[in-house]
Subunit: 532 residues, 2 copies
């Protein structure tokens, strides 16, 4: 009864406490099952409640607690809830039944097969961007949109709504160029080469990139080993005004904020919805003020897009929706069968980039060629080179050293060029047999690089010494793991040795070391996956 | 590094600890962000992991913790995870990456609009019933099935799969009768009257019922104030052999175990999928071995089914799918505009039931009439009464005292008839003005009864003294709240006084106290909702 009297006295308020529990973006509140508010409000486990504090209202999932770490007058909040409410320990938080979200009827409408117009999409995406929509409802929405259930007009409405609920940059110059890679391959750090080539030719390219979510390095992580990337909007504008471009982290501005919320449920559901992908990519591009966008679409058996037919459908949608929201989009289908360059991990990828910019003879040619192709296409799209002449201009700009000079200038403008760190420890993984490289498993290599510490330790990761189809002798190095600490190196090595081979050596040498990698091998010398 | 060495030594095992956190049926594991296993495995927040202990494998959601209540070598488990693994404090638990569930491809197939056959449904429902499918995937499945996206064959396959993955009772007698109410009204405790009437006429009716989930009382809660209901299968069989029926709690057997899992996501999503409802109801009935089932379908503006058209579509599907899985189904559309009887709360509803069985003159006539209608229909369905003669037989059986005698015998067989408890405290809520009862808000009344302590305190709840359209004078009692403790009574009263009226008195007396409740009132004397 003290509880109930306590409740009446407190008016449903509890002392806020940081639970220190990371539930990703889903706000959760932990309350004693027998606390005054829980009993009085009749909250059930997993109830949707509303938290009110500091003038913010945040929907949260309730978890009832029977344990001594939480007091009866406390409400412990997950990291997401804590951050959204801007709380300090001991602040009061009001917990009440969630007011039903008006926009959830649009989720239901879509579930029941109705078409959503712009105002409906806008209302829903606005609530999603503010963290008001639960994971379950997000899952329902994403599901209801998948399988081609959004028509072209709806994808346009969704994309526009995703742009409109966030901030939007604009630039005084034109055309503003951009590029994006769908479902990045490890090591595909062309951005750091493309931007200096394109801007050295006088074309504007204010590039924002993301940090790694699940990969061993994002473009922003790699760039950060060479120069500061966490630029605020004012700094970014200054850099772009001076140099015609930048390579910044896009996370500090509120650009297409609903996108991250949708991605958090799309990933575990493994729903590759073309509509959501198009809206995600194009909304980010429109929000940063880009006008002409080149999309790099790697196709391969372990890439996000696995067939040329899927690539063509996706490309058509990107171009159509882009056009509707005022973006000129061009798509390049590229080889997605193996990592690009040698390094996997922020600093190791940066070394590949610098080798290409410096025109070192040992620089990875695949990274150089992809970058030149993309830069050349962008130069043509910008009208800086005539049709068919972009590649030559890009190549001259790189080979003359102009791109390197521009990259150094960009880095200086962003806060100063620096040397990527080198890891203290390394270990070589050698070929178990003589043969040729039949398969490279991007995912296992990425996992090993992460276990070695990437991207948390920017120097950590892996360097691959072979390409598909290369001949190797038993004992020759396949790849080298880099780590800052011997324990992590040991753990990454233990993973590599315990799992199926990340790089598979097949075929005895007499079958011809120069046969193409995509000829089906008769048998695998090592257990493991190999190209079809 | 000690962490990593610790991990290598422990092989990914941590000390299990009961977190005491109720996440309903979603298993969650809490691990220190910087613990050896988290770091070594590279788990992210909200990762799907697999817990292994005591020969069980349970999929769980990972929540990373930065707080002192959890040690680095511990894994704290939510109540659901703890129960599924059958752990004791200090047991070892292995945490590893979840092996992808094969059956999730059927979720994706359905999302992409493909038709699921029985083996696909069976594989998926089997994983769901074992708690292997995450809430997000359940939400995707439920969404993909909603909006008429399951055809009749798929609903049959789903229903059959839901039956087949659980236990199934069988009875040596035939026909085995059953009844079910879709979206129960408060106080609609006809089961406790129908079963004794039907079994007193020699018809077999082994009835299992549920406890309250969100309501102030389930049929099992109400029955439990009169006799034991937590019967194991053997006891249930003995009772049915002796008395031809029982009124037991259905939760102790594993009957259609996937149903609860699906309901946990359907409720917050507020998706009233006809397909899922049909599968849910009929799978439970088939699992308990019923052969002929009468469905009570209340229709009203605040009931689950709101229009006669929706009721007819649902009835058609119940009959068609029932027939396909060997159940003879009949549906009765009933009045769902207000609560049935007077009591809301386990003991208060039991008193209504006993008054009807005892043929007291003040017994609630609506409860009596509904029960007789349902019992009469069941007697006709069983062939015990000719068409049109069931109601008369049911009425004779009740009025002769045979039903009361049978009810007492049923209670004795289940462990002994007992007196329902009476609450220590009560308070009357009076009419604020003279007029007539224009609306009764089932949900607010149910909420007040829960705040007063129902169903946790079986004696707590509310007693309604008026019916729609009744004339009342200012100060006359509308309803009485009952509670075991003065504080809870005060809180329920505070809720009643603070909110819009649960029972709305409208119209001055001169407008005619005998006008029908569903004539639109010109104006409400009290703020609040009223019938259209």
């Amino acid at each position: 009864m003290n509880d109930v009297n306590g409740y009446v006295k407190s008016g449903g308020r509890l002392k806020a406490r940081r639970a220190g529990i990371d539930t990703y973006q889903q706000p959760v509140v932990y309350m004693r099952r027998d606390c005054a508010v829980c009993r009085a409000e009749g909250f059930e486990a997993q109830a949707q409640v509303e938290l009110v504090a500091n003038g913010h209202q945040v929907p949260a999932l309730l978890n009832r607690v029977d344990a001594e770490w939480l007091a009866h007058d406390e409400a412990a909040l997950s990291e997401a809830a804590w951050g959204l409410l801007g709380l300090a320990d001991g602040d009061e938080v009001l917990v009440r039944h969630a007011t039903p979200l008006e926009s959830l009827r649009f989720v239901r409408a879509k579930v029941y097969g109705r078409k959503l117009d712009y105002p409906s999409m806008r209302a829903l995406i606005d609530d999603i961007s503010r963290g008001r929509v639960s994971d379950l409802h997000l899952a329902a929405f994403v599901t209801a949109c998948a399988g081609g259930r959004l028509d072209a007009q709806e994808v346009v409405a969704l994309t526009r709504a995703m742009v409109d609920v966030g901030e939007r940059l604009s630039w005084p110059m034109s055309p503003v160029m951009d590029k994006h890679c769908v479902g990045g391959l490890p090591g595909n750090r062309t951005t750091l080469i493309v931007v200096p080539i394109v801007t050295a030719c006088g074309v504007v390219m204010p590039k924002t990139s993301s940090r790694a979510i699940t990969s061993p390095a994002g473009t922003a992580d790699t760039m950060e080993t060479l120069a500061p990337v966490a630029l605020d909007i004012a700094t970014m504008r200054r850099v772009v005004e001076r140099e015609g471009g930048c390579i910044a982290w896009g996370g500090s501005a509120r650009l297409s904020p609903a996108d991250d919320m949708l991605i958090r449920v799309e990933r575990p559901l493994d729903l590759d919805s073309e509509a959501q992908l198009v809206a995600s990519v194009l909304s980010k591009k429109a929000a940063v003020g880009s006008e002409r966008v080149l999309i790099d679409l790697p196709v391969g058996p372990t890439a996000k897009v696995r067939s040329s037919a899927a690539a063509q459908s996706l490309a058509a949608s990107l171009i159509e929706v882009g056009s509707a929201i005022g973006l000129q989009v061009q798509v390049l289908e590229t080889d997605g069968r193996q990592p690009v360059g040698r390094g996997i991990g922020p600093a190791l990828e940066a070394l590949d980039v610098m080798a290409v910019l410096h025109r070192h003879t040992e620089a990875p040619q695949d990274l150089r060629e992809r970058s030149l192709l993309l830069a050349g296409t962008l130069l043509e799209m910008a009208g800086r080179a005539g049709p068919g002449h972009g590649l030559a201009l890009a190549t001259r700009t790189l080979d003359s050293g102009l791109a390197l000079a521009k990259f150094i200038a960009l880095c200086e403008a962003q806060g100063g060029l620096r040397e990527p760190p080198r890891a203290a420890h390394s270990a070589v993984v050698a070929a178990p047999a003589t043969g040729r490289v039949g398969a490279i498993d991007n995912r296992r290599l990425a996992r090993a690089a992460k276990l070695a510490g990437a991207p948390r330790d920017p120097a950590a990761g892996a360097v691959i010494h072979v390409r598909l189809g290369d001949a190797v002798a038993a004992g020759e190095p396949l790849f080298t793991l880099h780590a800052e600490a011997p324990g992590e190196l040991a753990y990454a090595l233990a993973y590599v040795n315990a799992q199926e081979a990340a790089i598979v050596v097949i075929d005895p040498p007499d079958s011809g070391a120069d046969s193409a990698a995509d000829n089906a091998p008769a048998a695998a010398a090592e257990t493991g996956t190999y190209l079809p």
